[in-house]
């Protein structure tokens, strides 16, 4: 008799994120290159947890969309001699899976303290996510169709049609995250409040999405360090456990599919909630991959926070704001804090679970979930003691 693989990495309280570090600010970093930004974030992450360069025996290097940072050169400039070193795709979609990979390397005994290093100077490098450089093998540029955002807009318009919904209700998402950013000293849009009127008059990039529905493009670097929990307890910060992580490929926002990746998210939901022993009602805050506002709708439905076609109503009336039932991206997220392809919102999750978030602290946060975008639908659940 054979059984299905569990398809979920379940670690309970065995693996912990012990340290997080970011560049000293986000935005533009003309004064140093992508390697220098990584060094700054690494220094801050080591300071955060009390580990030293010699303790880091595993590294995953996720090069950003700007200057290329090959992993071997990164290992040199970080001054480490890791037993395990992998280069990693810059794709934000692969960020969720990277957590499972790191935790698995710790859990299987291949290393004790692994760092994820991500650095991106996309702003300074003038990176664009649409236009001449993005053709690849696709026929889309011939029709003037380009950029991930245009794909998100195409899918969202179909979603509105499918469920007969009001496009303007989407405003609740960028408005909530801009409010959260106003409470975050690191947020790029900290001092740029957004009103419903401004949102409604915001220019379209690709109708039905407005500029406020798009993530920022900026520079910054993130490092976080994961360790075996028995070692983590001796470090400076309380451990944040990676309770469970899972992913599902095969559904794609670029393929004009009917179900808004619902089945992929359902599969991941079943696995991570099952392994972590929690459900949607236990989630104290949701950190989601907000490259574009509409993604949250598909996550909320796919993970069972609300029924199908109900997400635009679910997000109204402050429910996803701090103080609401399900605060999301309490840092301001990719829309208003910084776009570092999923990495910065994990720093926020860790800080929330440690209780370090000051004015934007979710009271007594104990369970925080991350959800990332198909084509690698992914999720992981972080907990504290």
């Amino acid at each position: 008799m054979t059984s299905e693989p569990a398809a979920v990495a379940a670690f309970g309280t065995g693996v912990a994120i012990v340290g997080v570090g970011t560049t000293n600010h986000y935005g533009q970093y003309p004064e140093m290159g992508a390697f220098g930004m990584a060094q700054e974030a690494f220094r801050n992450a080591l300071d955060d947890c009390g580990l030293t360069q010699d303790d880091i025996d595993g590294v995953i290097v996720g090069t950003g969309t700007g200057e290329s940072t090959p992993y071997d050169e990164m290992v040199r400039v970080l001054g480490i001699k890791p037993r395990v070193a992998y280069p990693y795709s810059n794709g934000g979609r692969l960020f969720g899976p990277s957590i499972a990979l790191m935790a698995s390397l710790i859990d299987s005994g291949q290393c004790d303290n692994i760092a994820f290093v991500y650095t991106n100077n996309a702003r300074t490098a003038h990176v664009r996510f649409g236009g001449q450089d993005v053709g690849g093998g696709s026929i889309h540029p011939a029709y003037g169709f380009t950029s991930p955002g245009a794909n998100a807009a195409m899918e969202f318009n179909r979603y509105l049609h499918e469920f007969g919904l009001d496009r303007e209700k989407l405003a609740a998402i960028p408005l909530a995250e801009r409010k959260h950013a106003s409470l975050n000293p690191m947020a790029i849009f900290k001092d740029r409040p957004l009103t419903p009127e401004e949102y409604a008059e915001g220019r379209y990039i690709s109708y039905p999405l407005r500029i406020y529905d798009y993530c920022i493009i900026n520079d910054g670097a993130i490092v976080f360090i994961m360790s075996r929990s028995d070692r983590a307890r001796d470090l400076k910060q309380p451990p944040v456990f990676v309770a469970a992580a899972s992913q599902q490929a095969g559904w794609n926002i670029y393929h004009h599919e009917d179900d808004f990746e619902y089945e992929a998210y359902q599969r991941v939901a079943e696995r991570v909630y099952g392994a972590a022993g929690v459900g949607p009602s236990d989630i104290d805050a949701l950190m989601w991959y907000d490259a574009f506002s509409p993604f949250l709708l598909y996550y909320l439905e796919g993970f069972g926070f609300c029924g199908r076609g109900e997400a635009l109503d679910f997000i109204q009336d402050g429910r996803i704001e701090l103080g609401g039932e399900l605060p999301v991206n309490t840092s301001g997220g990719h829309l208003s804090e910084t776009y570092l392809q999923g990495r910065a919102i994990v720093v926020e999750a860790v800080r929330q679970l440690r209780g370090e978030c000051g004015e934007r602290q979710v009271p007594n946060a104990q369970v925080i979930q991350f959800i990332g975008t198909a084509p690698n639908a992914s999720s992981f659940i972080l907990t504290r003691e």
């Binding site: 001449q132 011939a142 003037g144």
Partner: protein, 139 residues
């Protein structure tokens, strides 16, 4: 090489897609059909992605379909499209069930609706390349 003032991106033509573009030049809309499982697929690729059979026949589509979804592009990503902003891009769902990106033509942006019937028209953009596009179906 023909001299042309067409300054929009041209589609990449590969060994797999050459028959599609050859047919488009003849104003025929085509797609691959697997000889074994008989499923249609697009974009073109050597083998069937349902059953991995390499046995394929190019068939002609009816050219009729509906708007599955659309966007109106406002952002000037390509020099060649700037004069047409804001312009519509749709996902066509063909009668045969295939979905792919195209442009809607001969219609005002405000009149576009998801589900509306459309039909193919062929835009000979250069001597070498014809782009299938779609317009409201003639009744």
């Amino acid at each position: 090489m023909t001299v042309t003032d067409y300054n929009k991106p041209l589609p990449p033509i590969s060994p797999d897609s050459q028959p599609y573009w050859d047919a488009a030049k003849e104003h025929r809309l085509t797609a691959q059909r697997c000889d074994d499982c008989e499923k249609l697929r697009f974009p073109p690729v050597n083998s069937c992605w349902y059953c991995l059979s390499p046995n394929t026949t190019w068939i002609e589509l009816s050219g009729r379909g509906t708007v599955w979804s659309y966007i109106i592009m406002h952002q000037p990503y390509y020099q060649g499209f700037i004069g047409e902003l804001p312009y519509p891009i749709c996902v066509v769902e063909t009668e045969e069930g295939l979905r792919f990106i195209s442009n809607l033509v001969n219609i005002d942006n405000a009149e576009i609706e998801i589900g509306m019937p459309i039909e193919v028209v062929f835009d000979d953009v250069t001597d070498e390349v014809t782009l299938p596009k779609f317009q409201p179906a003639s009744t």
